[in-house]
């Protein structure tokens, strides 16, 4: 009990210290400097209506490349650590009839909804990451409903790699055409879609990149789920 009390006292001290720091950053006040620039120029410079998406993919696209890499590392790492010579699923109970029929019916719609989320990332809230997660949820449903279901591993791994390469390639094309890595060549060099801001065919390379990210995130998260669910069997 003594140790626990000690831990709580330490935590309270840390909390007090943090709160003192935070008191210098008042809540609800306008502190924007760079943020103001983004809000004022986002439509002309990127063609996206959703400023968050524009920042994630275009202005701070480098972060997102790193983020995609982090998820790639996680899926690779989980695959490396849970690697066994022979693996199989160990689920014993088949899903109920409701779950099975529901999954069969819903699966295409869930995937479609995920695709909708990432394709419209520059117009509505959402984007590649929630969209990809939705697609992974569809595969999760399949895993839960059917005992013997498995994703096509080789195809998924290759898709994952190709989508990642596609993202870097889009960046490298930007380096070749516009002179900067991850340069938005569709919007700024080719001037495509300038007259339909707020509709689907605008936003420069944002829809392309978000589609690649959505596919990549979907396959990666499904791969993680697959690795988590299967156990190694000794021969």
């Amino acid at each position: 009990m003594l140790k626990r009390a000690l831990a709580i006292i330490t935590l309270l001290i840390i909390g007090y210290w943090l709160a003192q720091g935070l008191a210098g950053v008042p809540f609800g006040q306008d502190k924007m400097i760079v943020g103001r620039y983004y809000l004022e120029n986002v439509k002309e410079q990127t063609g996206a209506v959703n400023a968050v998406t524009a920042i994630v993919v275009n202005y701070r696209g480098f972060d997102t490349l790193g983020e995609v890499t982090v998820l790639f590392i996680a899926s690779t790492g989980v695959g490396a650590l849970l690697w066994r010579k022979k693996k199989k699923r160990t689920a014993r109970a088949e899903g109920s009839v409701v779950l099975k029929t529901g999954t069969e019916l819903l699966f295409p719609f869930v995937v479609l909804f995920g695709a909708y989320i990432f394709i419209h990332g520059h117009l509505t809230p959402g984007g590649g990451f929630p969209g990809g997660a939705t697609i992974a949820t569809a595969f999760l449903l399949l895993y839960m409903a059917f005992i013997n279901y498995e994703i096509p591993h080789r195809a998924f791994e290759k898709t994952e790699g190709l989508a990642g390469m596609g993202y870097v390639l889009v960046g490298l094309i930007g380096l070749a055409i516009g002179g900067y890595f991850l340069f938005d060549w569709i919007w700024q060099t080719w001037n495509w879609g300038h007259d339909n801001i707020g509709r689907l065919f605008s936003g420069g390379f944002i829809p392309i990149i978000y589609t690649l990210i959505g596919i990549k995130v979907g396959t990666e998260l499904s791969g993680i789920i697959d690795n988590m669910l299967k156990e190694g069997v000794s021969e």
Binding site: V52, P130, T137
Partner: protein
């Protein structure tokens, strides 16, 4: 104090309550549900803070998927915490 403020207070209180329960429950499955609840309440707060993108991502990834993978891990290991002795901080010892 208007209505919106009081909803904020209630949601923050619920969020902290589920965090405490998630930490204290011995049954890890229940603790995982508590963790997902923290994420869900946080996602409501994100929505109230005018961040719909973040709210969606947190609900899809933070609540649903990370909850799911924790449950898979529990399925492959054990469900209940064993009795513990008082020796904090295993990970700072050399």
């Amino acid at each position: 104090m208007n209505c919106i403020t009081c909803i904020e207070y209630i949601i923050v209180a619920l969020m902290i309550l589920s965090a405490i329960l998630a930490v204290e429950w011995r049954d890890l499955l229940a603790a995982t549900v508590g963790m997902a609840a923290v994420s869900l309440f946080a996602s409501i707060l994100f929505f109230m803070l005018q961040a719909p993108d973040v709210a969606m991502t947190e609900a899809a990834i933070g609540a649903a998927l990370s909850g799911a993978i924790v449950i898979f891990a529990i399925k492959r290991t054990q469900r209940f915490e064993t009795e513990e002795e008082e020796k904090p901080g295993w990970w700072v010892r050399w």
